[in-house]
Symmetry: C2
Subunit: 180 residues, 2 copies
Amino acid sequence: MKKKNDLIPDIIDNLRRVFQVVNAQSKRAELATGITGPQLWTIKTIAETGPIRISDLARKIYLHPATLVGIIDRLEARGIVTRTRSRVDRRVVLVDLTNAGRVLVAKSPQVAQGLLVSGLETLPVGDLETLASGLKQLVTLLHAQKLPPQLILSPEINIPRRKIGKSSRDQNERKEANHV
Amino acid sequence: MKKKNDLIPDIIDNLRRVFQVVNAQSKRAELATGITGPQLWTIKTIAETGPIRISDLARKIYLHPATLVGIIDRLEARGIVTRTRSRVDRRVVLVDLTNAGRVLVAKSPQVAQGLLVSGLETLPVGDLETLASGLKQLVTLLHAQKLPPQLILSPEINIPRRKIGKSSRDQNERKEANHV
DNA sequence: TTCAAATAAGTTGTATACAAATAATCCAAG
DNA sequence: CTTGGATTATTTGTATACAACTTATTTGAA
């Protein structure tokens, strides 16, 4: 039987490969449909929940509000969603689908994941159960852990965190990035 | 027992959640370390393979050469890697680690995945085996499927794609893009 | 030999993705 | 009623990520 120290690197590497392949597939689907994966997820969620606040939507799809604003901008520019400023609380913006958006969502379910779905469909039920079970545990475990561990790599590489701030803009902002 | 049609959406949604959470975690780790996930993966791969061509490196880490150029630019600017134009074939650029880069890689293994690793470590071996097995099947299946299915969503949304490239390579060269 | 096709790296444009800061608004304490 | 803190969306800045294109170079075929 393998030990933990053998299994964990395997899991991470395979997760990374899945990320890359699924991302690649998603881009291809985008070329074919004109709709990106995040955009599709967004409009499907709006379709489920009627008019919804930006912040609630962001929470639902695990995206940063700043990211969602850009996605909504593009969907709105294409006439797929609308923004409405709430009259009850004027800080709030409600997004909803246009008719065109509803048509789009109705047509899209079978397209959502393309290669991933069609690939999964070829697997026997037993394998799917194994995968579903493993992923569920992974998600549970990821969401259970709230605080990121302190990860100090090396002081000379570390970028000093803002602090004083005050005026001054930019500086070594060190933003971040992505991926596994 | 659940049927396929119930399991597949579960798998996809959970995969998407894992993507989001791991990406977010990776961003946080960058704030703490100054090194992004893709950058770390890149320098670790360079560390394994000595001087390596941009194109070979891109293939190894499943990234588009255009993406890798940007990553190498930033690593070079920080004195972590060097670029050398090959004298045998002047089209080729070889990247390698600087001493600072080697020090960085030596210090980094335990930091690689942060939350994901520490979370996985809390799982019992049996769960890890379930997860590892499921992911392995998923990767095998994703790589087995070479050609993307034709995904046509709706003509009025479709963005006209650049004519067909006639012959030309690509095909399995195809690198690509983004998110679930 | 010559030149067109192929190859390698880099450039440009678009779309995520998120932290930090900002603007507008709401709300509660005094 | 006023003011300061909190909340909501947005803006700004950095870093992926990839398709399509461009430039420089190599190679192969006529």
